[in-house]
């Protein structure tokens, strides 16, 4: 007999076989000795197992067993609370997360709108033609005359130029002549 037929006999005895198959297997059990023997064996095992399992009893006392279960329930509750906390955290973090990009954007926008103020256009409107008007101090006078001299080569507003810086650097380099060093550098003991 095929293994498939044996398994079908088992399914028939367990009531798991489709009605059409059940008729066939029932006929097989009645007509075939081997099939009948297999069916009898399976029935015997089923009958034996109906006597049930070995009865087991916990040795722990009621109070001890419950105390352990209770402790785990309490621990589970506190874990649930802990788990619920981080779920709030992203909500709190959200505004903070936007501060940096928004702040950066704002800074860029402020810089763009105030560019003229920070890097004034070297024109006659800013520097009056009459340099004598600014003759209150020597610095203003020299700056005014320097700007007048350099004005044609200055780039348009909106384009960064290091020319002015370079000019200052050049001045600094020029001032590295030991003879023009400030007294404090020339003689650090002072």
């Amino acid at each position: 007999m095929k293994k498939g037929d044996r398994i079908k006999i088992q399914a028939f005895l367990d009531g798991e076989l489709a009605p059409q198959e059940s008729v066939k297997i029932s006929y097989l059990i009645d007509s075939d000795l081997e099939a009948r023997t297999v069916a009898d064996e399976l029935k015997s095992v089923q009958k034996l197992l109906k006597y049930g399992e070995n009865e087991l009893k916990l040795e722990d006392s009621r109070d001890f067993y419950w105390s352990q279960v209770h402790r785990q329930i309490e621990a589970g509750n506190s874990n649930l609370l802990e788990q619920s906390r981080p779920s709030n955290a992203p909500r709190m973090e959200n505004p903070l997360r936007w501060i940096l990009p928004i702040g950066s954007m704002a800074a860029i926008v402020v810089l763009m709108f105030n560019f003229n103020t920070i890097n004034p256009k070297p024109s006659n409107e800013v520097l009056p033609e009459d340099s004598t008007a600014n003759a209150a101090s020597g610095l203003t006078e020299s700056l005014g005359s320097a700007m007048e001299e350099e004005a044609p080569s200055m780039p348009e507003v909106g384009v960064f130029s290091f020319e002015g810086i370079w000019k200052n650097d050049r001045n600094l380099l020029e001032s590295e002549d030991p003879s023009v060093l400030p007294e404090s550098i020339e003689n650090p003991e002072r």
Partner: protein, 199 residues
């Protein structure tokens, strides 16, 4: 509303009260059914310590999910299912680390099945019930984990093939094959027991 007489209340009443968050009735439920839950865990795991841990975990899970219990089955059936699922999870974890057992290989090649003569199994004639239960228990222990689980779920929990397949995450064909092999192996063990007793 009258106070619940906990020691004399029915399971359904205790469950109803526990679902409202009262722990006292739940403690009574634990006390009433803890042996059954532990026995089921032990029948599947065959290890006292693991069975104890799983039974307690089942009660913890039971409390956490108590509001989901609709009363479509009895409370003990519901709790037993939780316990079975925990046992299956543990067995799956263990099985990932283990190679196939000789029983599994035999089942696949059908070697044992061909060799086994079909005999009449009736060792109950000369045995006390408790003695017989112990012998069945011993025989069950010798089965591989998969075969024992299928047998426990089908014979003791009266689960259908389909339900077993779903719980064990395998096909119905595998369940049928395992069940058939487990029964024949059990039959062989009980026959040898009978022969021993006759000597």
């Amino acid at each position: 509303m009258p106070k619940l007489d906990i020691p004399n209340a029915a399971d359904a009443e205790l469950v109803h009260s526990s679902q409202k968050g009262n722990m006292e009735p739940y403690e009574e439920l634990v006390h009433r059914h803890r042996d059954k839950i532990y026995a089921r865990a032990f029948s599947m795991l065959r290890n006292e310590e693991e069975a104890l841990d799983i039974s307690q975990e089942a009660w913890v899970k039971g409390w956490q999910r108590l509001k989901q219990f609709q009363g479509n089955s009895t409370f003990t059936t519901w709790m037993t299912r939780i316990c079975i699922n925990l046992c299956l999870d543990l067995l799956r974890k263990k099985q990932r680390q283990k190679t196939d057992s000789i029983d599994q290989m035999n089942e696949e090649i059908g070697g044992f099945e061909r060799k086994l003569p079909v005999e009449d199994v009736n060792p109950t004639e000369t045995m006390e019930l408790s003695e017989l239960r112990q012998e069945i228990d011993k025989a069950m222990e010798k089965l591989s984990c998969d075969h024992r689980t299928v047998l426990v779920l089908h014979e003791f929990e009266q689960m259908e093939y389909r339900e077993i397949a779903k719980s064990m995450q395998c096909s119905i064909g595998t369940v049928m094959s395992r069940l058939f092999y487990a029964r024949r192996r059990l039959a062989k063990m009980l026959i040898s027991l009978k022969k021993e007793r006759q000597r």
